[in-house]
């Protein structure tokens, strides 16, 4: 790339709530600076400008739920030097991946007046299930400070500094009292990747896993502990089946418990 040319940034949306790309617009203090450092080539939520690829960096929000989107992500990959997925939908399939555990045809017949109008895959899957991904940023939604770090690192061709350790480490560092030890509150913190900013335990609430599984999580041990706290098998299954239900470690642990 010519030294004078600004890198081309594209922001793409698939099945999602828009919250992760909104995180970029929520960088109120940095937005204009970021916009000055890159050429925003495609960002439908913010601009009607559309500049053709190839793109230096593509940020991808959302999961793949239709045949059309499965084809679209491959084209975007072909056009992108670096492809970074942002948020639980893009990295794990999102909350809509709960349909992976059910009969989707049944849904459609049961609930739509005209099922033939609906074009949907049986599953909601992560972007990396379809194309190669250069970096995955977790969270439902992503942490905007982490988003800026990933963007900065990617533009400067270095590895983003995003810890892969557990939420427990964050609580210890922040001096937050353990909600499980102190109050017997079930918490997914031991198996969940840090990054939210130590939110739920700080509000006396158990972590609900919106940043997905940490590296090598011992979910079986946590599930056993939850059972000892009196959590039913069904509630254990459902605790793992939320915004990252289709992330492998959470999916397996959820499947290990009877959801009835």
């Amino acid at each position: 790339m010519a030294a004078s040319r600004k890198p081309k940034l594209a922001v793409w949306k698939f099945s999602s709530c828009d919250g992760c790309q909104l995180s970029l617009l929520d960088c109120e203090d940095e937005l204009l600076e970021v916009a000055g450092a890159v050429e925003i080539a495609y960002f439908l939520e913010a601009t009607r400008v559309e500049i053709k690829g190839p793109y230096d960096v593509s940020l991808v929000e959302g999961s793949i739920t239709t045949p059309h989107d499965a084809a679209r992500i491959r084209k975007i990959r072909d056009q992108s030097k670096m492809l970074v997925t942002i948020g639980a939908c893009a990295t794990a399939g999102g909350i809509q991946a709960l349909k992976n555990f059910r009969d989707v045809d049944g849904f459609i017949k049961a609930v739509y007046a005209h099922p033939a109008y609906i074009d949907t895959l049986a599953t909601s899957t992560a972007i990396q299930d379809h194309v190669a991904v250069d970096f995955e940023l977790r969270g439902c939604p992503v942490n905007k400070h982490q988003l800026l770090e990933v963007l900065n690192a990617t533009l400067n061709r270095r590895k983003p500094v995003i810890p892969a350790h557990s939420q427990c480490v964050e609580c210890k560092m922040a001096g937050t009292v353990c909600v499980t030890v102190a109050h017997g509150t079930p918490c997914l913190g031991p198996v969940t990747q840090a990054g939210c900013g130590n939110l739920c335990p700080g509000f006396a609430r158990g972590c609900y896993g919106c940043f997905g599984p940490k590296e090598n999580p011992n979910t079986a041990s946590l599930a056993k502990h939850m059972a000892e706290l009196g959590v039913s098998s069904r509630d254990i299954a459902q605790a793992f089946r939320s915004f990252n239900a289709n992330a492998e470690a959470f999916r397996k642990e959820g499947d290990a418990h009877d959801d009835r």
């Binding site: 919250g19 909104l22 439908l44 849904f107 609930v111 109008y117 459902q238």
Partner: protein, 435 residues
């Protein structure tokens, strides 16, 4: 040959920019007569109502908040209310007011985002707010700072701006510290002034000449500008409790949209929810300052030009800041942040004014308090049919414009509604067959 005489024209926007979610527009004109207008929603369905089946009642606020990253509090508040209704929970005034304060933060964040960053460019002939920032940096900077304060309210009370974590059925996990809420007071005072200035700026925009005699529907409460409580009223005499919604409103499933179209069951057709409807129906409940600002901006007590919705949003932003200031000043920490709840069977309804209009919920629970049935009617689905009707009118009035300008005007007309397409696309458990 003028453009209007051209035998056949098609105005197409394949992927609409500066809206939340994926939508498209097609307008067909033949021999100067509009033959078809379709505002298409192709955001893939996400099946929320079906996914909720079997989940404990307490999961509904967190799960439904993921319908929309721009207005999660609307879903959190509506789902919580419905569960409190089903389980007979009285949250009391302190919790209600804290929820309202949080909701004011969302109104600000969403309205400012839309008015400054998404809608204003249409009026200024620019592609986006970044272009505005090159010419009027102070304007965009003001918008960003106001939005940031809206988000700050959400963070102080809810932990984070997008998908807050401190909320639950019944109230909150933890009462925010009084000192932190108090820290909002000085910035809020400044924001009241800044948002007053915003109303003036937007009042000076040039508005396309178009009016429609809308059926307006909104929540109404005698004591305040309705956000999180009230009865459903319209300018055609409707006055019902939220539980009676389904007797008066229906949704149709049409081929070109993954969202369902809202209609009134009395045959009067489409209706409008959102800022214009609230402003028309609850004008008397606005603060004196907001009412005066609206008057000075040239708005009557009822505004029927949808392009002026950007001014109404600015007036509502001003009101939301004033209201937030009042609530922050009187805030006392809650001794009990959420009353104890006994799970059980029941049916409950919830309805609040999301920034873009009415958002209605109904849930049925089994004996363990698990969801057996859910129905959510988001604002953009209700407005979709009215959006199409506006497009007919706007295109008809602007057939003389060349295609590019007509397309621009159509996009602007859609953005009048601040459509949240992510919200509108969902899966209903109601089936309506129509011959």
């Amino acid at each position: 040959m003028t453009i209007a005489e051209t035998a056949s024209r098609t105005i197409k926007v394949d992927a609409l920019a500066r809206v939340e979610g994926e939508g498209a527009l097609t307008v067909r004109v033949k021999d100067g007569v509009i033959t078809d207008v379709k505002f298409r929603i192709f955001e893939p369905p996400r099946f929320f109502e079906a996914l909720l089946k079997g989940r404990p009642y307490g999961d509904a606020p967190d799960i439904t908040s993921r319908i929309c990253g721009i207005c999660p509090v609307a879903y959190i508040a509506g789902a919580s209310q419905a569960m409190e209704d089903a389980l007979g929970v009285d949250i009391g005034e302190g919790i209600r007011k804290l929820r309202r304060l949080m909701y004011c933060g969302e109104w600000v964040e969403s309205h400012v985002l839309h008015a400054y960053l998404l809608h204003a460019p249409d009026f200024l002939g620019m592609e986006d707010a970044l272009q505005i920032a090159k010419v009027h940096p102070e304007l965009v900077e003001r918008g960003l700072q106001l939005k940031k304060l809206g988000n700050r309210i959400l963070e102080v009370i809810g932990g984070r701006a997008i998908h807050p974590v401190n909320t639950k059925v019944g109230g909150f996990y933890k009462s925010p510290r009084k000192a932190e809420v108090r820290e909002l007071i000085e910035p809020l005072k400044r924001a009241v002034d800044e948002s007053l200035a915003t109303v003036k700026v937007f009042a000076g925009l040039e508005f396309p000449d178009y009016e429609h005699d809308y059926t307006f529907v909104a929540l109404h409460h005698d004591e305040d500008y309705a956000i999180e409580r009230g009865r459903l009223i319209s300018n055609r005499g409707l006055d019902i409790p939220v539980a009676a919604f389904e007797e008066h409103f229906d949704e149709e499933h049409v081929r070109h949209s993954n969202a369902l179209h809202g209609v009134m069951t009395d045959g009067s057709g489409p209706y409008m929810v959102g800022p214009l409807a609230r402003y028309a129906l609850n004008h008397a409940q606005l603060s004196p300052l907001a009412r005066q600002a609206a008057y000075d901006a040239g708005l009557g007590p009822v505004e029927r030009n949808p392009f002026k919705s950007i001014v109404v949003r600015a007036v509502e932003t001003l009101y939301a800041f004033e209201e937030a200031l009042k609530l922050a000043e009187s805030y006392e920490e809650l001794a009990v942040p959420a009353p104890p709840i006994t799970p059980g069977a029941g049916r409950g309804h919830g309805c609040t004014e999301a920034p873009r209009g009415l958002c209605w919920h109904r849930y049925d629970l089994d004996g363990e308090g698990r969801i057996t049935h859910a129905r959510i009617v988001p604002p953009t689905a209700q407005n979709q049919k009215q959006i199409e009707r506006d497009l007919w009118g706007v295109v008809q009035a602007n057939l003389h414009l060349p295609d590019e300008q007509l397309k621009w005007r159509c996009e602007q007309a859609i953005r009048n509604y601040d459509p949240c397409i992510s919200c509108a696309t969902h899966f209903l458990t109601l089936t309506v067959e129509r011959a």
